[in-house]
Amino acid sequence: MLTIKRVATLVSINQELEQAAGCGKDCLGSCCMPGAKLPLYTFGRRRSGLLAGDSDGDNGFLDSLLLAQWEDRMDKGLFRYDVTACETMVLPGEHGFIAQLNEGRHSKKRPTEFRVDQVLQPFDGKKFNFTKVGQEEVLFCFEESEDGTSQYYEKAPVSWSPNVIAINVSPIEYGHVLLVPCVLDCTPQRIDPDTFLLALQMAVEADNPYFRLGYNSLGAFATINHLHFQAYYLAAPFPVERAPTTLICHRWKKGGVKILELGNFPVRGLVFEVGDSLEDLANAVANTCIYLQNANIPFNVLIADRGGRVFVFPQCFAERQARGEVEQEILDTQVNPAVWEISGHIVLKRRLDYESATEESAWRLLAEVSLTQERFDEVKKHCLKSVFNAPNKVKVEMPTMDSSLHLMGLSGVALNGQSEHCLVLQV
């Protein structure tokens, strides 16, 4: 068993409190939720029309609501510090790594041990989870509407196990929230197609290229083993969004999910781009992540470009840290490279690290996170296989019987057994 010691970030007011059963505190547990009323945003499911270009003109409904509710909680003093008072800058250079000096985020608690070699772990009700979050920390519930339109209700009776958007009381940036799908289901931290689709739908509904969602698996610096995504606003591109990509799969049929590989970036990763169908994108990414989970490979996921681009990064920093393979200098910064850091947004706890940060030092840190090229190529093969051979139909590019094969994979992985005419070999 491999473990590392780290201090968990406080994301909720109640996290520090003793784990008392039954609370009288207006939490999100089965003690307080039945009969509760919370704000509710219902979104209309979008089936198509997910173009690359920005939406026209004004800020969207969900956007304005989320910002409004967040600002309201700021006024009410629910956050541990004012994140907008934290200095932030772009490190000189073409990649545009973003550094922030945030001395308040780091909690003074003792470091605890986290197991880093088991990506899938069963839910443990005794540990902190999101049912213990106070209802005041919930900005609103997020559910699909019945009539296809978007609407907001100040107070609506909660469904049995709603999807909630809660504040992160130790925000990295303005608007930092947690999306907890089906909070009372008590699902452990893992990706599945339905909840991933929900996260994508939130990105689509927010319709803002500067609002991204992120996911950390266990072993890739998630500290709470209760299914959740994070999200926040930052009006600047992340370095990973700027990085060039190489198409892995040729598009044969118009409208399929595009799969690409990241280039010129310290952490190796796959990029999935939406075609006609958001569901197909969700399935493609989820199938990849399910492979990684089952193969016990820690990973992080970034949802960017209004739900149109999803980055998947398998990583091994925690494992290397546990084995003592990471440079002490890097460990001293106490940066835990999770999805935001990997994307290029690095929050630093000490002023000396902030003032001496450079593009090179950021690159060096992130290079420690990446799988080696050899290992990544292996993992990539399996990921791609799991996308195409999945039982749920993913329209990526399945050629018809009488058209040519499409080629796939730079390492000779073949796919689909549809045509007997070909020399393509099944791996």
Partner: protein, 413 residues
């Protein structure tokens, strides 16, 4: 958001003389001018060439953002590059897949360059030049295939190739790839040659040269025909003042302006570092509610809204304490009528962490609609807070140097 025709034409008139139309008319290029200080960076001038290239009529183009040229296969990362060039207020050159009005895709070598004001260094317009091209060579998508070919016998390769082609009854020209799998040996893939790789496409050097020349010519024309006098000093193709420097003078840079104009609420931004905390930006809705124009408001302290019966003490306290507050204050419109203003005030910080502005979001109580279900939709107060949040996100990254890249080497510092 409808833009008045006057706003669009005055965008050009304000900075350039009448003679510009004539000299631009002589240019054979496809190009547009857009104004990032108007909502959504709309096109304010389009050349004949642009219209015939895109298939749109002149009136279908003026007032719209250029993104209507994008379509389903347009690369998302390329769109990000353009968006970020606008945000960083700098030039960019991209190869982008565009579409005509009738939905026909074409590859476009798109050059964009800012036109800066000589007076305060802000971006006055963006010049966008479109040069359609046909691919020089489509980027191959399988470089590793050729590496593995070396390991294989040339004779066997020929054999495999003809076998493949025989078995696949394709009429169209084919490309044959080989890949080597350590366990199973050589694998052959076949692909139709006309499959478009919409991911990458590179223009020939001559196209690039033409495009660069076009940008230069247009910029020269703009500079030669720019208005000087009456406070203006003309335009230039390079910045005379860095964004941070202009910001000190109370000028709102174009990329921040672009974010602010997305907010559909009445609000003003005031700069506490300048004497008497003047307004540096007022939203359109503010002007509609109060009856003042932007020119009448910018540079003045907000107190012109107050009258004999107003008590501004709470506002003063809030600014002194650098904290947010909500006050109910009596205000007066330009036509001297009064209204109760549910004003929400908040400090807004930039990337340095220091207070850069105060945002004041007005809510005129007499226009609040009390009819209708109060449980449905956002309350007016919530909408005010939403405006505050949007301002905070924008200012943090876009005010002063903000979160824009710099290319200074560390050794120079």
């Amino acid at each position: 958001m409808e833009l008045g025709e006057e706003e669009l034409t005055s965008s050009v008139k304000r900075y350039y003389k009448e003679s510009l139309k004539h000299s631009l008319g002589q240019c054979d290029f496809n190009f547009v001018l857009s104004d990032p200080r108007l909502p959504d960076n709309p096109i304010v001038y389009a050349s004949e060439g642009f219209c015939s290239m895109s298939g749109y009529e002149h009136h279908e183009v003026i007032g719209r953002n250029c993104r209507f040229l994008q379509g389903p296969d347009t690369d998302r990362r390329t769109v990000l590059e353009i968006r970020d060039a606008v945000r960083e207020e700098r030039p960019c050159q991209v190869h982008i897949l565009n579409y005509t009005k009738h939905g026909n895709p074409f590859w476009n070598l798109f050059y964009m360059a800012p036109v800066y004001s000589r007076k305060d260094g802000t971006v006055v317009h963006f010049v966008g030049v479109q040069t359609p091209f046909s691919a020089a060579a489509t980027a191959a998508a399988a470089p590793l295939a050729s590496k593995k070919l070396n390991l294989m016998d040339a004779e066997k390769r020929k054999e495999a190739r003809s076998e493949c082609l025989q078995q696949i009854q394709g009429e169209a020209p084919m490309r044959v790839w080989f890949a080597l799998n350590e366990i199973q040996g050589c694998v052959c893939f076949v692909e139709a040659d006309e499959q478009e790789d919409n991911h990458k496409c590179v223009a020939k050097d001559e196209d690039k040269g033409r495009a660069a020349c076009a940008v230069q010519t247009i910029l020269c024309n703009l500079m030669e025909n720019s208005r000087i006098g009456g406070g203006g000093r003309g335009v230039a193709e390079t910045r005379c003042k860095e964004i941070a420097e202009s910001a000190v003078g109370g000028v709102v840079c174009s990329s921040l302006m672009l974010s602010l104009t997305r907010i559909q609420q009445s609000f003003v931004l005031a700069d506490p570092k300048l004497p008497d905390i003047p307004i540096v930006h007022a939203s359109k809705v503010f002007c509609e509610i109060t009856g003042y124009s932007q020119e009448e408001v910018i540079g003045r302290n907000c107190r012109f809204l107050q009258g004999p019966d107003t008590d501004p003490e709470a506002i003063r306290k809030s600014i002194a304490g650098e904290h947010a507050c909500t006050v109910r204050i009596l205000n007066y419109r330009k036509d001297k009528t009064s209204f109760w203003n549910h004003l929400h005030l908040s400090p807004v910080r930039s990337a340095t962490g220091e207070v850069a502005f105060y945002v004041g979001v007005q809510l005129a109580m007499d226009i609040v609609d009390s009819a209708g279900d109060e449980n449905v939709g956002m309350t007016p107060y919530m909408k005010q807070l939403g405006a505050v949040g949007a301002v905070k996100v924008a200012v943090r990254s876009l005010q002063g140097s903000g979160l824009r890249r710099s290319f200074k080497k560390n050794s120079e510092e």
